[in-house]
């Protein structure tokens, strides 16, 4: 868009939206929320960036290569955490038996492998939302006026 007010306010607001999304992901075992809702918030902030500034500047920040790494890496890290449990004790995807530190219930660094899984899910959901939006918009791109107007 070419509006000056919308561009300035978007530049001010997007870091706060992402900070709130990261807070909801990391406190998934203390407060309501978790990986899925926090990932949706971060994905929504990147969709807002695409709508205001155009498609080409947004593809520089979140390219096709980064989407490949985020999607595949999410599943590989999830299965890797499960395989740690398989090698250290005897079962796939365990929490207590595999030696993850439990800590005090109610602190930030507690509950074993649950914050790690929440971070993995959050990255994956954010990358999915942005990839699907860019794929649906791309057909509207032509040579003489790039970006969405």
């Amino acid at each position: 868009m070419d509006d000056r007010i919308v561009k300035s306010i978007t530049r001010l607001v997007i870091p706060f939206i992402q900070l709130y999304g990261i807070f909801i992901i990391l406190h998934g075992h203390i407060t309501p929320g978790g990986g899925f809702s926090g990932g949706t918030l971060i994905g929504t902030s990147l969709i807002l960036y695409t709508l205001v500034f155009g498609l080409l500047p947004s593809k520089k920040k979140f390219s096709h290569r980064m989407s490949q790494i985020a999607e595949s890496g999410g599943i590989v890290i999830y299965v890797g955490i499960g395989l740690i449990g398989l090698f250290l004790s005897g079962q796939f995807l365990t929490n207590l038996d595999a030696g993850f530190p439990i800590g005090e219930p109610g602190e930030l660094f507690s509950a074993g492998m649950i914050p790690l899984l929440m971070i993995t899910i959050g990255i994956k959901v954010a990358s999915t939302m942005v990839s699907l939006f860019h794929l649906l918009i791309e057909g509207d791109l032509d040579a003489d006026h790039p970006g969405i107007r």
């Binding site: 309501p32 899925f36 699907l132 794929l135 649906l136």
Partner: protein, 126 residues
């Protein structure tokens, strides 16, 4: 009266059923493809409301641990089953919308009557 009391007690389930029938009416009656896809999405959302309403407990609190040892927590299991359901409904909606984009590129219209006419003409000319 007793019927009005029973109606008010089951208001969540009746709302879910009403949403389901609104979605079904949209799928059956309208001719635009995008409106019918949105009708499928509304039907999926109504089932989530039904599942959450099953797990409710009278005078219950949200399922986070509290200091008081004798409170009633609501049933957390239906809320967990909904998260997987939401992902499935979103995937189905996105795939249907991408197929609609391809249909518009090929035939030039997204009205169901004109599409049937064009496809039948194409089969006759082949």
């Amino acid at each position: 009266m007793q019927i009005i009391q029973a109606f008010v007690d089951h208001i969540n389930f009746i709302g879910a059923v009403a949403l389901f029938l609104i979605g079904l009416h949209t799928v059956v009656t309208k001719k635009n493809l995008i409106k019918r896809i949105m009708g499928l999405n509304i039907m999926g959302t109504s089932i989530f409301l039904f599942l959450v309403a099953i797990g409710n407990v009278t005078g219950g609190v949200p399922p986070i641990l509290q200091q008081d040892p004798n409170v009633n927590y609501i049933n957390p299991i239906p809320s967990v089953l909904i998260l997987t359901g939401i992902v499935v409904v979103v995937s189905m909606t996105v795939y249907s919308l991408s197929l609609t984009i391809k249909i518009y590129e090929m035939y030039g219209t997204i009205n169901q009557d004109e599409l049937t006419h064009l496809i039948r003409e194409e089969e006759i000319h082949d």
